[in-house]
Symmetry: C2
Subunit: 198 residues, 2 copies
């Protein structure tokens, strides 16, 4: 793309590598960025660099954080005897946004996927089992409701059962506000199986 | 968003300021960026900073470039007697991608818009009139086919007419591959008005 400045071409190329950003979006973003006040563009560039350079994984739960221990694991007010197992930090954030869960988390950093060649040793299961040697009342498995998530949930529950610790799985069913007409059969059957008395 | 690292929160915030990037996309991009190899994240940050810091406008046509004169204006092989007037550098790029246009450009950096309070003095019209004092055969008006673009086209044509220089407007009509069924009435009427003999 000789008709742009080489700096803009480079920026378009780099933005285009991001997930979900196609060539047209990359171009639009690049032109937006060069038209920003200089300090705003620098703030964005620094945010990218800082985030990448200062990020680390919590030594307890494995979520992305910038301290040795994340704010949740370091909080004495949380219930450390209840551990919710999630696939990644975004899922943790999703549950934190509900502001209702008071236990702690364990971030697997992936899910078992024979398709992608990801086995039990490739996710943070060993670390989870280690944590269970402390005082734990319940492990809530909140992996995604996908094939990989379900496989992982099944695997973990089998692993934990022998220890006698309560293992639960978050409910699967019709999402709140969901219209039955547009919901797939598997979800509808799950909702039926998981029906509760009123 | 206390549940993320402050660096990630900052990055999500900054990415969320970009056009077309909502909170969910910003979060997805931020997590992608922190999971990139460190050098790739730095390359992206540097691309943003470099593009913003080194960008300038071509002293002749006004497009975004990093030299005093852009590669197109500096190219002796182009026809400098034919000037295509476009609204912005993206539109210039769109025509350059066709690889068929051999003239040069004039980038207005906007369009006349009474709604937004952008008048003739706010776009690069004075610079265009100055260029016309040299040897110019034709001015092709390629502003967008929007209300603002049409207003600007009309205004420019009236301004140039007295000089005797040929002023043309790119054709408006049904886009190639367009299905008549889905095209608006205004475009259909334009296409009819602009019909050519076969």
């Amino acid at each position: 793309m000789e008709y742009y400045s080489s700096h803009i071409s480079k920026l378009i190329e780099e933005l285009g590598r991001l997930p979900g950003i196609g060539p047209k979006s990359a171009q639009r973003l690049a032109f937006h960025i060069v038209s920003l006040p200089k300090d705003q563009a620098v703030v964005l560039a620094d945010a990218i660099r800082d985030a990448r350079e200062n990020i680390r994984y919590c030594s307890v739960c494995g979520t992305l954080t910038d301290a040795e221990t994340c704010p949740i694991c370091a909080d004495p007010a949380r219930n450390h005897r209840q551990i919710m197992v999630v696939e990644n930090s975004r899922d943790l954030a999703a549950y934190e946004k509900t502001q209702k869960y008071e236990g702690v988390y364990h971030v697997l950093q992936g899910a078992i996927s024979p398709m992608l060649g990801i086995g039990p040793d490739d996710i943070r299961l060993k670390e989870l089992m280690q944590r269970l040697q402390g005082d734990v009342d319940e492990v809530i498995i909140a992996t995604n409701s996908s094939l990989e998530g379900e496989t992982t949930a099944m695997y973990i529950s089998r692993l934990i059962k022998p220890t006698g610790i309560l293992v639960t799985r978050i409910a699967s069913g019709v999402p709140v506000g969901g219209d039955l007409e547009y919901i797939d059969e598997v979800t509808l059957l799950r909702a039926l199986d998981g029906r509760t008395e009123l």
